[in-house]
């Protein structure tokens, strides 16, 4: 797996290399741009922003917008800031990511190592499910959650994200485990290990790279979800995105753009962190599984 950090054996000339570096840097700038705009404007006083010059560095640096966004911006009738909603999101995201990843891993394990007639069709059905537009499930989902008694609860949200996440996690793990030697499973069977023991002792310890991919994917999607969060969470249990939306989309009144930007970055911090911390393993994980078709 050391291959993940080494380049190809192809040699390139000096001119070509200069060109390549130039293009790579240009794109780096392009990708950085929105974050730069957000960052630079989140540390300006509002008056500087309304004065124009969105790319300029602040004349007066201030962290006030950050403080305000975190702990005293008006989200609802009370100026709580984003702080309480941050924990709401964590409480929802952690179980949802964990459960969908574990279920995806188990499904991938069954679909590759315990094959049975019709398993491919079932997998196809699970995969196709990834494509369902979320807008159409809102009303029936609300009904089902109501019947299950999960409406307005964090567990309801966890269930929703679990349902619409397992298609992807199953896909990732299935492709990864397809390349995992079946002989190991057979050896373990002969050694007397059961279904779960094989999974737990043999497959799972080797699933690091793909688990990273699955976790990154799920964490990002669930953390960033707005539609389900707004529809299925009760007011004070609303996730971060809903709070951010309330902050940014307030209908009338002065728009404090610096606070909005600070809030947006705050809301994005966990996903950014996940990418930065786990990103190193990301290509490795993709290599190990998901791009193998």
């Amino acid at each position: 797996m050391a291959a993940a950090t080494q380049g190809t054996a192809i040699r390139t000339g000096r001119v070509a290399r200069t060109f390549i570096y130039l293009v790579l840097l240009l794109f780096a700038l392009f990708y950085m741009l929105p974050l730069y705009v957000m960052l630079v404007n989140s540390v300006k006083p509002l008056s500087e922003i309304t004065g124009g010059g969105m790319m300029n560095l602040p004349e007066i640096w201030t962290v006030e917008p950050w403080r305000k966004a975190w702990s005293e911006a008006q989200i609802g009738v009370q100026p709580t800031g984003l702080k309480p909603y941050f924990w709401n999101s964590i409480k929802m995201v952690v179980p949802a990511v964990a459960m969908s990843t574990i279920l995806g891993a188990l499904n991938g394990y069954v679909l590759t190592k315990w094959r049975f007639r019709g398993d491919t069709i079932l997998f196809g059905l699970m995969l196709f499910a990834c494509f369902i537009p979320f807008q159409i499930v809102l009303i029936p989902m609300a009904r089902v959650l109501g019947v299950l008694g999960l409406a307005g609860s964090t567990w309801g949200l966890v269930l929703v994200h679990l349902v619409y996440g397992i298609g992807f996690t199953t896909l990732y793990f299935r492709n990864y485990y397809a390349a995992f030697p079946t002989e190991l499973v057979r050896a373990a069977q002969i050694d007397g290990a059961g279904f779960f023991q094989i999974f737990w002792r043999i497959l799972l310890p080797s699933s690091g790279p793909i688990a990273v991919v699955s976790i990154i994917w799920q964490f990002t999607n669930i953390w960033n979800d707005f539609l389900f969060g707004a529809s299925f969470a009760a007011g004070n249990g609303a996730p971060m995105t809903v709070a951010l939306n309330n902050l940014v989309q307030s209908s009338t009144g002065v728009k404090e753009y610096n606070v909005h930007f600070a809030g947006a970055i705050l809301a994005a911090t966990p996903t950014l962190l996940v990418y930065i911390v786990a990103g190193r393993y990301f290509v490795r994980g993709l290599m190990a599984g998901s791009v193998k078709g």
Partner: protein, 297 residues
């Protein structure tokens, strides 16, 4: 004759456990995906407006739908958007992956820089993008301030070009992810083949065109699935950047569906549009899935 050992309990259990383990996921998928699709199909034949109701109206919603120029616009936009988005993301992703694969110093810094947009939703970056694209305060204004007076970039305000702004922002978000997929594919290619081809005198261009890129087929396919799925689900982007405007120039089927189902209280038409969207997705994905899954068997 030896005593016949019946399949013992544990063995029989072992045969059932895999199916048992799979069944909750399947049950969830069947209820929450396929059940809901059927429900939506049913709604599309009813007179549902604000809430689901069950008065049968046959194909009325479909005929209304096709009379709406709004719907035609969103379909055309989908075609333009999805086509460009998928192609541009793939091209940029592949190019960056190939460039990054040249033993680049600082790859460790560049890679997360390219990838991070995927971590952010447009609820977060929407305002920044809106500013950036706005000629009055964004890029155009900045260029003017920096002295390039003739610079003009007002696509977002032009209904003929606004859709390309959506493509730009969408490409910004996912091309890094596509890059990672291709990079993974490139790193998986046997270097000996490359050495052999170089000894055969292949130029770098030919090496990529004839030998490496053809080997990336799985990465292309995965990228296609992921991009197609993201294109179809594109919703936040439109809401955050243009709200469907100028006029209705950037409406997509997802925003159409949402708007008819929820803000216009015409759930029947919304459901009909959802059914057509799903059929389109199925028409594209089922042959793909069929080919992919059969091949692997």
């Amino acid at each position: 004759m030896a005593a016949r050992a019946e399949a013992d309990l544990r063995t029989r259990l072992q045969n059932w456990i895999p199916k048992l383990v799979l069944s909750p996921s399947l049950a969830m998928i069947f209820v929450f995906v396929y059940g809901f699709i059927l429900f939506t199909l049913y709604l599309s034949f009813t007179d549902s407006r604000m809430l689901p109701s069950f008065g049968w109206v046959g194909l009325e919603n479909y005929s209304k739908l096709w009379r709406l120029s709004h719907w035609e616009i969103s379909l055309t936009n989908m075609g333009i958007f999805a086509g460009l988005y998928i192609v541009v993301c793939t091209v940029i992703g592949l190019m960056l992956a190939i460039f990054l694969d040249q033993k680049i110093r600082g790859e460790g810094v560049l890679r997360p820089l390219y990838l991070y947009p995927m971590a952010l939703s447009f609820i977060v970056t929407g305002t920044a993008w809106k500013w950036f694209l706005d000629p009055g305060i964004g890029l155009e204004n900045t260029m003017h301030l920096w002295g390039w007076e003739s610079f003009s970039f007002n696509w977002i305000k032009d209904r003929n070009y606004a859709i390309y702004c959506l493509v730009l922002a969408a490409v910004w978000q996912t091309s890094g992810f596509v890059m990672a997929m291709f990079l993974a594919g490139l790193r998986g290619i046997d270097n000996e083949i490359l050495k052999a081809a170089q000894m055969d005198g292949a130029s770098n261009w030919n090496l990529y065109r004839r030998i490496i890129i053809p080997q990336l087929r799985p990465a292309f396919l995965s990228a296609f699935v992921i991009l197609a799925h993201l294109a179809i689900k594109t919703f936040d982007l439109v809401i955050a950047l243009t709200g469907g405007g100028p006029g209705r120039a950037t409406e997509l089927p997802a925003t159409f569906m949402y708007s008819y189902t929820f803000t216009r209280n015409q759930m029947g038409i919304g459901a009909a549009s959802a059914v057509i969207m799903l059929m389109t997705i199925a028409a594209i994905m089922i042959p793909y899935l069929y080919a992919e899954l059969r091949e692997r068997k």
